[in-house]
């Protein structure tokens, strides 16, 4: 079944076509979300939402873009939304903690780490460090970098997903790498890991 047939089937509410689409693209969508939210369970939840949205809005798909481009667009938008909501929640939580006093998150993290063997501490710390650095990137840089590094997309396809020019993608990825390098250098100098 080719892409057009698949979409046509889904537009008619055909579950078999939908199943094929999910099986074909689930890994791609989960991986894209993971690159932005850094948590597999969250990434799978987000991917589910992406496919539900596809099923619900299939009639809007015009076929002038590739199906994967459409999926990437929804996946990155939904992941950014989750991050924005979490940021908002954390902001209010921190206010609550300041005024009312709440649970200490750092102690929670170290409790979790205590269960893991020593080798994993450094791996885990290194991965936390990278995620923190990625999270500090401006949204557009983060999307372009994730699509390039996690999905290995060529710049041209990133430009289509983000609906920007090729030159803008080049510039975004260049700045993303520079920013990451700066943050990691800072961490290296301070021996943060």
């Amino acid at each position: 079944m080719d892409e057009a047939q698949l979409i046509k089937g889904i537009q008619q509410g055909d579950r078999k076509s939908f199943h094929i689409l999910v099986e074909t693209y689930q890994r791609m969508v989960v991986n894209t979300c993971l690159g932005i939210v850094h948590n597999k369970a969250d990434a799978e939840d987000l991917a589910q939402d992406v496919f539900l949205e596809i099923f619900r809005t299939a009639e809007n798909f015009r076929g002038d873009a590739k199906l994967s481009t459409w999926l990437y667009r929804i996946a990155t938008n939904r992941s950014l939304n989750l991050i924005r909501n979490n940021k908002r929640k954390r902001f209010f939580q921190s206010i609550e903690e300041t005024f009312i006093g709440g649970r200490n998150r750092t102690s929670e993290i170290s409790e979790n780490r205590a269960d893991q063997p020593d080798q994993n501490i450094t791996d885990q710390q290194r991965s936390d460090m990278l995620h923190r650095a990625m999270d500090r990137l401006p949204e557009k840089q983060r999307i372009a970098f994730t699509l390039n590094k996690y999905e290995e997309l060529p710049y041209q396809q990133i430009a289509e997903v983000m609906e920007i020019s090729l030159a803008s993608v080049e510039s975004l990825i260049h700045r993303a790498k520079k920013n990451l390098q700066e943050q990691l250098l800072d961490c290296y100098k301070k021996k943060c890991v």
Binding site: R15, L52, K149, Q181, Y188
Partner: protein, 141 residues
Amino acid sequence: MKTKCIHNDLIFYLDNELSVEKKIAVEKHLEECADCRGFLAFLKEGIQIIDREKKPEVSPFFYTRLSARLDEKSETQAQSQWVRLAQPAFFSFVLLAGIYGGLKLGSNASSPKINQQVTSSVQMLNDFAAEPIESFLLDGL
């Protein structure tokens, strides 16, 4: 003499994005600078995290879960569609029943009222007839 540190080029060196001349210069500096070599190793390990964590296996129940959510959604959607249709119909019925009831009550209630008004005006006329106008005016004082 040691050349200037090249911390800022290393991520591009790792991704093989430097020009040939720059690449040679970076490699030359790396040979003589332990600090830059240290940072290069640190950077490489950090960026390699991506290769290790990307493209994870998706849960085998991914579609089963999704399918259940889809059923749930279409059920609630069908339900909400029914509610969407039934609710205005119900309220319209209540409104119409109210208007009808109101009219019915109104028509029942208005007939004795008119009669009453007629009788009272007749009574007043009768009162005028029975009482001389002067005493009526004097009573007011």
